[in-house]
């Protein structure tokens, strides 16, 4: 069993708080992704779990044992680095064997572990090469192999795909998913790429400025983001946000910004009652907006001017001016000819609207 528990973990560099009071429980064999923009503290958190950074306050436990004061070598974790960090003066075989030799594993067991890992990752023909003779993708596989042979309690991944080109990155994502099935191990994966987070994680931890914003499954984060930051970070293209004023209008609420106004029945949106007279952010995902007039009373109408169209082949992306705001619409029929400046009508289901108060992000 290798569950990981972070309790009130805090990291301070001088006067700068890098990680603030993180509480997180990762289950045995769970694959958790830490995601956030640069400098959000995700890599620092990972390095504290690995033992490469001291913990300023709080405790980290791996498999029920507090590891705060253990050296990295004594934590039984393996880590893949952004730039692979292969030992460049050693062959691939020696790279794989290094960790096992340090632990005085008998030679025949090392050979068996290497051949198993090489088979899983299809790197058998590369075993006698040096790292500089390998492509980026091959180096990445060797770095994964170095983790697998150790059979550790925990795999830690520090942005391992970010140095690969887009095509190879997509391929390695699939390989990582397959690897999870073959070598089920508790894993923490750090990335700034929401696609990697969504595709790989059992659960995702969204971080910003050293603070956890939300923890949940990919669908939970996509469908029920707790604040505007999470909503904008998860999903591509990013969610649209419009600042609207909420007013009470008999049984309904009226939400209005310049160039757009709509009403919502209060019985279906009771949360808005507390926001009457205030400005809130309405969030709409570009994929949830459909061109054409509303077809039911449950939909909200949008009218705007097309500013830019982006043809992707299977769909078009539109940038549409709505009053003094600009919104994006995805999933538009690629054969539809839309000139810049043309007026369009669109609709979004009221259930797909998200409401966020200003400045409600966790700090």
């Amino acid at each position: 069993m290798a569950e990981i528990v972070l309790s009130n973990v805090h990291k301070v560099y001088g006067h700068v708080v890098a990680v603030k009071d993180i509480n997180l429980a990762i289950n045995d064999r769970e694959f958790v992704v830490l995601v956030g923009p640069s400098g959000c503290g995700k890599s620092t958190t990972l390095r504290m779990i690995a033992g490469l950074e001291e913990i300023s306050a709080g405790t980290i436990a791996i498999g029920g044992r507090v590891v705060n004061h253990l050296q990295p070598k004594d934590r039984d974790v393996a880590m893949v680095f952004q730039n692979y960090a292969l030992y460049r003066h050693m062959s691939v075989r020696d790279n794989l064997a290094f960790g096992l030799r340090n632990r005085r594993v008998p030679a025949h067991e090392i050979a068996a572990a290497i051949s198993r890992a090489a088979r899983i990752l299809s790197i058998e023909p590369l075993l006698d090469r040096r790292p500089h003779q390998l492509s980026g993708g091959q180096q990445q596989r060797v770095a994964l192999g170095r983790c697998i042979v150790r059979n550790p309690k925990v795999f830690l991944f520090d942005e391992p795909l970010s140095n690969l080109d887009a095509q190879l990155r997509a391929q390695m994502r699939l390989e990582l998913k397959e690897l999870r099935l073959r070598v089920p191990t508790t894993s923490i994966f750090v990335t700034h790429d929401q696609t990697e987070a969504m595709t790989l994680g059992d659960r995702i931890v969204v971080m910003k400025d050293g603070v956890v914003q939300q923890v949940g499954t990919p669908l939970e984060l996509y469908r029920k983001p707790v604040n505007r930051f999470v909503a904008s970070f998860i999903g591509s293209p990013s969610m649209n946000f419009l600042a609207v004023n909420v007013t009470a209008d008999g049984e309904d609420f009226t939400l209005a910004c310049q160039g757009w106004q709509f009403t919502l029945p209060s019985r279906r949106f009771p949360d808005l009652a507390s926001r009457i007279g205030r400005s809130v952010w309405v969030g709409v995902r570009p994929q949830h907006i459909r061109l054409g007039a509303p077809v039911s009373g449950n939909q909200v109408a949008l009218k705007g001017t097309v500013m830019v169209t982006e043809q992707l082949g299977d769909e078009q992306l539109l940038a549409v001016r709505l009053g003094d705001s600009e919104i994006r619409i995805a999933g538009v029929d690629p054969d539809l000819a839309l000139a810049t400046g043309s007026q369009i009508e669109a609709a979004v289901a009221a259930d797909n609207l998200h409401f966020f108060d200003e400045a409600e992000e966790a700090r």
């Binding site: 033992g51 050296q71 990295p72 960090a85 292969l86």
Partner: protein, 275 residues
């Protein structure tokens, strides 16, 4: 509308003015000239070492050549002792100073804090003091410590100079090595020291070898410290060579022969290091 032909004044470059392939020929000639500039003194030195004592001033006219100069200098006990001393001191200075330089360069590259900062400042200050200014104080210090005219009396100043100079270069080598390799080693079962010893240091071997050659040649060729800090007990080759100039005249032929002998180990070390 009137067309105005604008003729842009184009400067005709030096190489453009040369005939086709003129640029290549020019650079080839320049390379040959520079090689000659450096090779000619060595050639003249070897020529002088093969001339009898009476013929050194007429090298360009004489036809008489001999290896007697080599026999004569190699039969002198002081030259043989100086060869051995110079070799031992150069080698020891290289090994000892690189031992310190590697760790000190690694510390400067990887660690932040008051100790690396103080160490860096100290070396910086030492580097700012002109080399010549150390010699006289060192003479008194070695006298006081009773290590004047011994191996240690010459080794310690050399090591100190090398550490100050080469730690900076070593820091540059380690800066070029990705530290995540050491983190990987620490996770793979190494201590901090183990990660340095087994991963960072082997990766720095090309840089370390270049420094070793520089260090060895520097000590082998050094004259000022050797002249002031040694006497009869520990003769050093560069000083012994200079002693062929004395009150009775200048024995250029013997000096040249000794210099040619001194070239050989330097050449071997350089070629060996390059491999």
């Amino acid at each position: 509308m009137r067309d105005v032909a604008v003729v842009q004044a184009r400067s005709v470059g030096f190489f453009a003015a040369l005939a086709p392939r003129g640029k290549a020929v020019f650079f080839a000639l320049a390379a040959v000239a520079i090689c000659l500039l450096f090779a000619f003194p060595v050639f003249w030195l070897i020529l002088t070492s093969l001339r009898p004592g009476t013929g050194v001033y007429y090298v360009h006219r004489g036809t008489e050549f001999t290896v007697d100069n080599f026999h004569e200098v190699l039969s002198q006990d002081i030259v043989l002792r100086a060869l051995l001393n110079s070799f031992m001191i150069s080698t020891l200075a290289t090994v000892l100073s690189l031992g310190v330089t590697a760790t000190s360069g690694y510390m400067l590259s990887r660690f932040k804090g008051p100790i690396p900062n103080a160490w860096f400042s100290l070396m910086y200050i030492f580097r700012c003091v002109p080399y010549v200014a150390w010699v006289l104080p060192l003479y008194f210090v070695t006298q006081q410590l009773s290590i004047f005219d011994t191996y240690w009396g010459l080794l310690l100043p050399h090591i100190a100079v090398h550490i100050c100079f080469f730690s900076w270069i070593m820091k540059g080598f380690f800066d070029g090595i990705d530290p995540s390799m050491e983190y990987a080693a620490m996770i793979d079962g190494c201590s901090r020291w183990g990660a340095f010893w087994r991963v960072a240091l082997p990766s720095a071997i090309p840089g370390l070898t270049a420094l070793a050659i520089l260090c060895w040649l520097y000590t082998w060729n050094e004259f000022l410290f050797a002249l002031i800090l040694t006497a009869h007990e520990t003769p050093i080759l560069t000083v012994v060579m200079a002693q062929f100039v004395h009150e009775l005249g200048m024995e250029w032929h013997l000096m040249s022969a000794t210099a040619v002998i001194a070239l050989v180990p330097a050449l071997i070390v350089t070629l060996f290091g390059q491999r």
